[in-house]
């Protein structure tokens, strides 16, 4: 069975500090990987997607970057956090050639 693990579960960070969020998918090779962001009370906004190792496409510019260093790992990061980065960050995967998304448990980020 496939499992998706996100870390950390929650973060409280200061404005201007760096951030790194991670996501690992086990039990599935070569999945499509995604980062979504959800402001409090807001909809799901796709940030990045990756269909293969080393390749990441940006969907929305939010002063964030993403990388896929391994087939099963997706990293979201920034060097300087803004207040507007607060929210719920969700990693998701879909099987190769399919279009159904499966979400991780998410990371709740508060920037103060």
């Amino acid at each position: 069975a496939q499992t998706i693990h996100q870390w950390p579960v929650a973060e409280i960070k200061a404005v201007g500090s760096p951030l790194s969020l991670g996501c690992t998918i086990k039990g599935k090779s070569s999945p499509n990987l995604y980062w979504y962001w959800q402001a409090t009370g807001g909809t799901l906004q796709q940030l990045f997607y990756s269909i293969t190792v080393g390749q990441v496409e940006s969907v929305v510019q939010l002063n964030l970057s993403a990388s896929r260093p391994k087939d099963d790992q997706f990293i979201l990061s920034t060097e300087k956090l803004l207040l507007s980065h607060s929210g719920f960050y969700l990693c998701a995967w879909s099987p190769l050639g399919e279009n159904t998304l499966y979400f991780g448990a998410g990371t709740r980020l508060s920037v103060l």
Partner: protein
């Protein structure tokens, strides 16, 4: 461009009454439609997905029918339960495993006793 519209931001129902959440879409190509449900402080989970052969998907008492003529994929349930209270997102994707999934704004369903 491709888009998903959920006209109701908030739906409030009494337990036992029928549920219908609206979803319409605009799409250049023949799409797949999805309903995701997100309970408070949880991640979204797949509820339903449209079939290519026009079968009606059903799960946990919910069902939805893809009507290409009206570009709709409304979510329905015959009798609301308290546990149905959640955020519901309609989403659109395309055949061939495209990495593009477009979500609607979401509808918050609140079921009271």
């Amino acid at each position: 461009g491709d888009s998903v519209t959920q006209t109701e931001g908030l739906v409030t129902l009494t337990e036992g009454l029928p549920v219908m959440l609206n979803c319409t879409y605009q799409s250049t190509y023949s799409p797949f439609l999805f309903w995701y449900v997100q309970h408070l402080n949880e991640a979204p989970k797949l509820l339903l997905k449209s079939f290519t052969d026009n079968k009606r998907p059903e799960h946990q008492g919910f069902h939805a029918t893809l009507h290409k003529s009206s570009s709709s994929f409304h979510l329905q349930k015959s009798s609301a339960q308290l546990s149905d209270s959640a955020l519901y997102y309609c989403a659109l994707s395309f055949q061939g495993g495209s990495a593009k999934l477009i979500f609607g704004e979401g509808t918050k369903l609140t079921v009271s006793s």
